[in-house]
Symmetry: C2
Subunit: 372 residues, 2 copies
C-alpha cells in the first residue's frame, strides 16, 4: 500500500552500512528557516492585536513559517500515523493488559471505535494504523482508518534476554516510517501526528528515555496504562537491568533503539526523520511517541525545529523528554492514553494559530490605532 | 435583532426591585445533574481505554452530561458573544491604547479581521459582536460577525468620580446578556463563549475581582494589553481608590458590578445567568470575561457547574478568579488578547471530549480485553 522510497534497501546491511544509511537520513534534515521566522515576526507585529498577546499561538505560527518557508501557512491535510508493535518484555509482567490487546486495539482503530478515531475526526485528521510488529492477526480493514501491513517481526524480543531487535529489523522498521512520511508528503499532508499502540511499550519508552537522556530509570518509569505498585517496582527493575545489560548511553541512540526500543518506536523515529526531511511539521503525542522523537533528535539535532509537543502526559518520563528536547507542550490535560490522542487534540490549536496568522487584518488595513 | 425575553422590564426599577429581578434570575439557574454525571461515569468506564486515561477530557464529558442531562452530547452550534463597552476610567491614563480603539476593533470584528474571527472560524463558532456601551460609532456590519446594537450608554462613568453605572443602566446591560442567551438557546447553540472588547476594561475587571474575592487590588491588577511600569502603578492606585471609595465587598456582587464594573461585563454576567438557566455550557475567556462569570457565580453559586475555563491568561488576577471559582483552565498558552479568543480555542477541546464520549466503542462491543 505504501510504496518504497528511494532510500537504499536495508536487507543485509551491517553495522557499518547502518551508519551510512542513517547519516544519509540525517543529512536530509535541514534546519528550519531563520529567515522565514523573521519574516513571520514582522508580519505578526502588524496584526491588529497588542504585541505578543496571542502568546503561544504566535510562537506556533513562527515555527510554522520556519518549517514551511512561507507566510502562507497551511495546516491541512492532517494525518495521524499510529504505529503498532508488541514487546517481548511483556513476559516479565510489566503491563496491566494482556499482549492480545495490541491486535485487538488495531482492529478497534480500523473499525473506528478507539479514542484516536474520535479525536482525529474532531481534528480533521485521517488515521493510518500501521502494523510494524504486532504479535497477532491484524489484517482487518474496518474502513475507518487506513490499515498498513508492514510487519517486520511478531513483536520484539525480550530486552532482558537479548536485544529487542536485530540491526536489520531496526532498519526495516525505520524504513517503514520513512515510507510513511514520504507518502504523507506526496499526499500533501501538512501536519503529521505521531501515534502508537503496543502493550508493554511504556517499558521500552522508559528504557529508551533513560538511555538517551542518561537519567535514572526510576526517574523516567511510570505506571503506563495503570499498573499497581508491585508491577511498577518490577517495571523499574526491568528497565534498570535492561539499560545496564545493553550498556545504553546517550551517545549511541541507535544502539539504545535497537536493544531496548520497539518496532513501532523505530518506525516513528523514521517518521520523524522523514517528515523533517520533507519539511513537514510533526506533532508528538505522549511518552512512547516522544521516545521516538528523542532518538530522532539525538541523531539529527536540527529536527527539533520541526517538532510540536502536542501535550504533556502525567507519565513522569514525559516531562523529562520534553525538557531534554526543549519543547513546551501545547496541552496539559492529564491524558495518558497514547494512540496519538494528544497529537490529534493539539492539531486544531496549530491550525488556529496558522489561521490567525494568515487571516487577521493589519493595523493599517483595518484603520485601528496602535499603542499610544 | 435580538427579541426581548419574558423577563420584566428594567426601566425605572428601584434597588428593591433589582433584588427581585435578580433573585428571579438566580432561581432559574438549577444545579447541573448529579444523576447524569453518574450515568456518564458508568459509560466512560466501558469505553476502550484504560480507566481515566483521557484525563481532563473525561471530566469535560461528565460535565457536559451533567449540563445537558443526556449521554447524547452535542457541542455544536457554537457561538462567541463579544460584548463591547467603553470605560470612563480611561481618563485616568490606565491603558496603553486610546479609547477610540474600542469602536475601531468592533468594526474590525464585523469585517472579519480580528483574532476572534480567525479563532472562531477554526472552532466552527459564529461571532456576535454586541455594542452594549461603546463610546463611538459602531453601526457598521461588515458581514463577518453579527453586529448587535444594544447600547445602554456611551461608555461607563469614571469609577473614581462616581459609580460606573446607575442601577437602571446595569440592569439594562444585564438584560442585553439575558436576551443574547435566550436567542442562543432558541438557535440551538450548545456552547456559548464569552468575549469582550473595551479599552480600559482590565481596570474594571481588576476592581471587580478585588471586590468579589476580597483580594488586594495589587494582587489582581496587571498589565492588560501591555502597560509600562508607571501606568501599572497608576492602574493599581486607581483600582485601590475605586474599591475603597465604593465600599466594594464580597457579599455585595451587584454593587461591585454597578460601581466599578463595565457595561460589557454586566452584559456578560447576564449571558452567564441566562445561559445557565437554559442549561447551556459556558466557556469563559480571560480576565475580563471571567470577571463577569465571577459576579454571576457570586449571585448563583450553582452556575459554576455550567462554566468551562477556556484558558489561563498571564494577567495575575485570572488565576485568582479561577481558583475562586474552583475551575481548571483547559489551555495555558500565555494568551492575553481577550475578544473571546481563549474561549474559541478551547471549544474544539470540549467538542473532541464529547465526540470521544459518544463515539468510542465499549470493551464488549469491540472485543477488547480489559485489565488482567
Amino acid at each position: 500500500m505504501v510504496k518504497g522510497s528511494n532510500v537504499m534497501t536495508t536487507n543485509g546491511v551491517t553495522a557499518a552500512r547502518t551508519r551510512v544509511f542513517v547519516s544519509e537520513l540525517v543529512a536530509r534534515v535541514r534546519p528550519v528557516s531563520d529567515h522565514w521566522r523573521r519574516e513571520g515576526a514582522l508580519r505578526l507585529d502588524r496584526l491588529t492585536k497588542p504585541p505578543g498577546s496571542l502568546g503561544g499561538l504566535e510562537e506556533i505560527a513562527l515555527r510554522c513559517c520556519a518549517i514551511q518557508e512561507t507566510l502562507d501557512l497551511t495546516t491541512s491535510p492532517r494525518r495521524i500515523l499510529v504505529c503498532a508493535g508488541d514487546h517481548g518484555v511483556v513476559a516479565e509482567g510489566v503491563s496491566a493488559y494482556p499482549k492480545a490487546v495490541t491486535a485487538q486495539m488495531v482492529a478497534n482503530i480500523t473499525s473506528g471505535g478507539a479514542a484516536i478515531n474520535a479525536l482525529a475526526a474532531a481534528a480533521g485528521a485521517d488515521v493510518w494504523i500501521v502494523d510494524v510488529g504486532v504479535d497477532g492477526p491484524t489484517a482487518v480493514d474496518g474502513g475507518h482508518a487506513r490499515l498498513v501491513s508492514r510487519r517486520v517481526r511478531n513483536g520484539t524480543r525480550n530486552m532482558l534476554e537479548e536485544a529487542a531487535m536485530s540491526e536489520v529489523e531496526m532498519l526495516d522498521a525505520l524504513q517503514v516510517g520513512l515510507d510513511l512520511s514520504a507518502q504523507a508528503a506526496a499526499d500533501g499532508v501538512r501536519l503529521v501526528g505521531l501515534g502508537e499502540m503496543g502493550i508493554g511499550n511504556t517499558t521500552a519508552a522508559s528504557a529508551v528515555t533513560a538511555g538517551v537522556t542518561g537519567r535514572p530509570p526510576a526517574r523516567v518509569t511510570g505506571r503506563g496504562t495503570g499498573v499497581d505498585d508491585g508491577t511498577l517496582a518490577r517495571k523499574v527493575a526491568v528497565v534498570e537491568r535492561a539499560v545496564a545489560a545493553h550498556g545504553c548511553v546517550p551517545g549511541a541512540p541507535l544502539d539504545v533503539l535497537r536493544t531496548v526500543g520497539g518496532l513501532e518506536i523505530a518506525a516513528l523515529c523514521g517518521v520523524c526523520l522523514g517528515a523533517a526531511a520533507h519539511r513537514l511539521a510533526i506533532v508528538t503525542d505522549g511518552f512512547v511517541a516522544t521516545s521516538a522523537a528523542l532518538i530522532a533528535a539525538a541523531l539529527a539535532p536540527s529536527l527539533v525545529g520541526y517538532l510540536f509537543a502536542g501535550h504533556l502526559s502525567p507519565e513522569p518520563g514525559h516531562a523529562v523528554q520534553l525538557e531534554h528536547l526543549g519543547l513546551r507542550p501545547l496541552l496539559n490535560l492529564n491524558m495518558r492514553l497514547g494512540e496519538g490522542t494528544g497529537a490529534a487534540l493539539a492539531m486544531p490549536v496549530i491550525g488556529a494559530a496558522a489561521l490567525a496568522f494568515t487571516s487577521m487584518a493589519t493595523f493599517d488595513s483595518a484603520g485601528v490605532s496602535g499603542q499610544a
